[in-house]
Amino acid sequence: MKQVIVLNVNGDPYTVAVNPWQTLNEVLREDINLTGVKVGCGSGDCGACTVLVDGRAVSSCLSLAIEMEGKTIMTVEGMAPSGETLHPIQEAFIEKGAIQCGFCTSGMEISALHLLNHNPSPTDTEIREALSGNLCRCTGYTKIVEAVAAAGQKMKESSERKPS
């Protein structure tokens, strides 16, 4: 019944045996131990399980793992692969106080990454729209929006510093 597939997650290939009914979220958390990916509502409303699949932000709780072979998957762990230097989005979330309990953070950061990859200088409205599928139940969204704006600035500055 199980099918052996190779998942490309954060640049590394993982060979896993999956049942058809296992979601990407379950396989990432339970088989590959990437527990930065959360699971909240299980119905695509809260965004805590957001990952990038071929560069698009999707809900891993509504994705079947069996359909993910051959695709490029990125979780929050892939944003800071060395584990030492954080991604500018993560730095900005810390600097702006955009993290409280942290449960929504990984999904927020992945959605922010998806936005900033496509739109390096988003307006506040564009940031709010891009994050509208991610819920934070601790506090509000002001600091998160500020953090994403600051991260966009940081990412632009660092790409300008790099020789082309």
């Binding site: 058809p20 296992q22 299980g42 999707v58 809900s59 509504l62 994705s63 359909e67 959605s111 509208s132």
Partner: protein, 291 residues
């Protein structure tokens, strides 16, 4: 919460998909993006024995436009891609708007326009504007391919005109007439994220200052999207004066049969049908004048 157990099939052709659907019987479900199906399995007790995914069928994700035939949106075309498609934004702006207003970014990156239609929720965001544009559903089944006006597709909440073992392969929207305009407005809680509580979609065609023809559909105010024919009749052949627009709004409100549920009260919905009818009439009129 875990999904119930099922067998998974990813056929390579639509014919194979229909054959599999037939072979696996009533316990089999077709899956496009999966954003409705998996939620029904997780939260509404649906337990399919087999899931037949359309993801591996080449060409089903097509979005094609040409000036003779109009717009084709394939069964696997993602809501996000429909929302951003340059031809759709240019020639079918309300189709793009409705797709953009469906769920959230994550779901739009997984879910499809056709899936939203096949789920047949009375509140489906992509229905009113495609109904107003007189779109046609392309269907493949055991006895071959057929087409059906979208207007005849919705039969009740979650119920469509699909016969057993039939699969929708695409939706076709004709070229909008010259001097026509469209509009779609939906109301919901939490921005545009929650299911639509009331929606109105319209296409109208002007001849000089007179509204020559129009199609007006109200969503989430009955078991299916409802065509407000009496309101249409009050407008057809007339100039869109404030008085005509007001009366049509009131008439549309009479024609719908909203219920009270978690999203809105029947009373609120009835009032908003009149408001949205007036607004889409004015918007579509404006867009027709600009074309």
């Amino acid at each position: 919460m875990r999904l119930s157990h099922f067998d998974y099939y990813a056929p390579a052709t639509i014919i194979d998909a229909v054959d599999l659907l037939q072979a696996k019987g009533p316990g089999a479900r077709v899956m496009a993006g999966g954003t409705d199906l998996l939620i029904k399995m997780r939260h509404a007790g649906l337990k399919p024995r087999a899931i037949i995914s359309l993801k591996h069928i080449p060409g089903l994700d097509t979005i094609a436009f040409d000036k003779q035939r109009g717009l084709i949106i394939g069964a696997m075309a993602l809501l996000a891609d429909v929302a951003d498609h340059p031809d759709i934004l240019k020639h079918y702006p309300t189709v793009a708007l409705a797709a953009r207003g469906t769920a959230n970014a994550q779901v739009r990156n997984m879910g499809t326009v056709i899936g939203n239609l096949c789920n047949a929720s009375p509140s489906a965001d992509n229905a009113p504007t495609l109904l107003a544009m007189d779109a046609e559903v392309h269907i493949q089944g055991p006895s071959g391919a057929r087409t059906l006006p979208l207007e005849h597709f919705f039969k009740g909440p979650g119920v469509t005109a699909l016969e057993p073992f039939e699969i929708v392969t695409a939706i076709h929207a004709p070229i909008p007439a010259p001097h026509s305009g469209t509009a779609y407005i939906s109301l919901s809680a939490r921005g545009k994220l929650d299911c639509t509580a009331v929606g109105a979609g319209i296409m109208l065609t002007l001849k000089g200052r007179v509204c020559e023809d129009l199609r007006l559909f109200i969503s989430a105010c009955g078991p299916t999207p409802i065509r407000a024919r009496n309101a249409e009749n009050m407008i057809r052949g007339k100039e869109l004066t404030a008085d005509v627009v007001d009366k049509a709004g009131a008439e549309a409100s009479w024609e719908t049969r909203p219920i009270t549920d978690v999203r809105a009260s029947a009373d609120y919905r009835s009032k908003m049908v009149a408001v949205l009818t007036r607004r889409v009439l004015r918007q579509a009129h404006k867009s027709a004048l600009e074309r």
